[in-house]
Amino acid sequence: MKALDYNTTQKPVWCPGCGNFAIWNGIKKALAEAGIEPHKLALVSGIGCSGKMINHVRAYGFHGLHGRTMPVATGIRLANPEMKVLVNGGDGDGYGMGVGHFVHAMRRNVDLTYIVHNNKVYGLTTGQASPTNEIGSPSKSTPFGVVDEPLNPIAIAIDAGATYVARGFSGDSEQLAELILGGLNHNGFALIDVFQPCVTFGGKYQYEYYQERVVKIENHDVTDADSALALSKTKDKLPIGLFYKVEGRPSYNEMHPEIEKAQVRKRDVTGLLEELV
């Protein structure tokens, strides 16, 4: 498989220069490298510009509701163990509306790869603050500046039970593709938070903003949760790369032995009825 094989007939409608293009390319490259055939891939997305990814990657797709990607993806994973599950969502989608589902999916260590297009803004609804936006930033819904503390998805993920936690940047497509590939090859919940500028409504959060701040993670023990947590809380600089990875914790499917027997067929319930006599 080549990256181009994953193209569809649909032309992207993202704004020219949108950070999503790098994620799109990263996904295709990683899929090709992992050798995942389109019919074995379930792509799940939420609502927003990130959700439109579903039209552009050749795979089975489920374009769900705002904030609800995690339960849909979990259902797919549990019901059809043969499918690889790759989820695309935005920061509003996953860290705002869907933050409860996000945390619970990680507690469960569902075997899926979750890419969050984190641009600190609601792009498709034309510029409201997202949960990762910093205090003081003005937006359409916070004209006098955000007053809510920004949410730290990396810290939450490490704490909640994700077993692969990474952060990529649309300005470094090579590293991004590697991180996605790592997620696809990981057995368990893989979060890849991506700094992905919204060139139209993203305000100050543009490529330059990130380029000045991002630093590649080096000399870090990815199996050490405490130092990964400390790294996620770095001020001023924004570390990108793999924060945390642990192997060996059973994934959600492995915790459900009944899945092997779950076949749709008429069942004999005589025994169950006899218990009620």
Binding site: P38, A42, K52, N55, G64, L65, T74, G75, Q263, K266
Partner: protein, 562 residues
Amino acid sequence: MSSVYVWKIGGPAGFGIMTTGPMFAKVLKASGYHVHGYPEYPSLVRGGYNCYQIAFGDTEVTAPYKKIDMYVALSDECFNREKFEESTYVIGDFANLKNAGDIKAKKIDVPLMGIVKELDGPDIMRNSVALGAAAALLGLDFALLEKNLTAAYKEKVAKINIEAAKKGYESVRERYSVVCKPAPDKCAPALYVTGNEATSIGAIAGGLTFFSTYPMTPASSILHYLAKCTREHGLVVKHTEDEISGINMAVGAAFAGARAMTGTAGGGFSLMNEGLGLAAITEVPIVLAVSQRPGPATGMATWTEQGDLKYVINSSQSEFIRAVYSPGSVEECYKFTFDALNLAEKYHIPVFVLLDKFLSESHFMAEKMPETGDVERGYLFEGNEEEPMAYFNRFAEKKDGVGVRVIPGTKGGLYIASSNEHTDEGFVSDKADVRKRQVERRFRKLKPLTDDMPHPELFGKKDAPLTFVCFGSVKMMLLEAMKHTDKFNFIHFPAVNPLNWEKVKKMLEGRNLCVMENNYTAQLRGIIAENTGIIIEKTFLKYDGRPFFNEEIVSFAEEAAK
């Protein structure tokens, strides 16, 4: 003895009434009686007032009564809650019951706590002493009580409880005579089953492989029942973080090929609304068991109502079709849940099994469960080995508006299940012609779906002066009342949407109609009026959280028929 005898046990939550009641009902059943069990309880773990009523007789009994023939009082609260007649037998430890002083009922004094202390058992064991006493008073064979106690508890606990029951039994037999003789007919073995159990077993029979939800009374026992069956029967059951996740997970599983279902009460269903619309536009088949209780919001958590009929029919934005079964018996719970799973996969639509607390949690006797058809999965794409990368026209019409479903993993079947309006392959589109074509196609399923729904049925004598019109569990209450008066017959709706309303209209015309519903606004009446133009003026409505008791129906019917 009158044709139906009513036995009841009451006391605070935490006293074991909800296990003791059904167990004693099984003793009565094994003694040859027909039995119906109706529980009432507040939303409390300890305290308050719980009771379990057993109405039994020598013919089928299907609904609760106001009257009480024999009562087991476990606390003083019982005397504030219940009205006793002079003829009522009240079993109690009267040395320890202060409020019992002025009741007119016949007191059967049993030293419940004395016996418990004598045996050095836990306080809760007074139940077993009381059951022993009741069994003696009803002339039941002690061996049947012993057998059921053995089945209900672990060996050691069973042993001491049997001893306690024996002492209660002997204490009464020495001092009182039998007040109610066992029925001559032996109707055991028959099932003693709740609506939720029947719904769950129907789902398992129907090949369910995935169930996900958040617990909410009175639907929780569906979750519990299915959860304990996972390993043996091969199904995945998930208690999710909320109902939103519950329905979305079920939708994801169904998309991926599972037979999926969720279950909740009205409050949880409120959270499921967007997921319902998602299932509708993605044409992912799911079944929803919704058990009604009084609302809005939390309402009365542990009581019954039929207030969600219009809600399930109209919920979620815009327009789409869904099927709504409204079973009236445990047999229908079983059969319709089986059928619902088939119907959802045949038409790729959401299908409801609409229950209520009365049906979900009351016990009914059933000889056996009805025959069902086969598990049918509808049109499924088998795959195309030659073109593994090809997109598939999932949302193009095959027949009657229904497309061909593909289980992800199938070669050549790529498509997108999109919550946006979409093309035949599922790509997002808001073109006018695409929207129009998809809406019309989805609605073309309505006609064949209508033909698959069970039609309303007339019960009772054809020429009765009054015809009640009802849906769901009211059927059970009317069947009971019919034993006591010939002034009415009734038309029961085992499903409410969609129906062949021309046929319904013909059935309703020329009768003295009265709608009977457990709600305030007569929702079925509204739906009938909207679809047939027939406005049923007479109403018999109840919305206090209780089902219709037999005496209420009989006196209403006698009055209305005058």
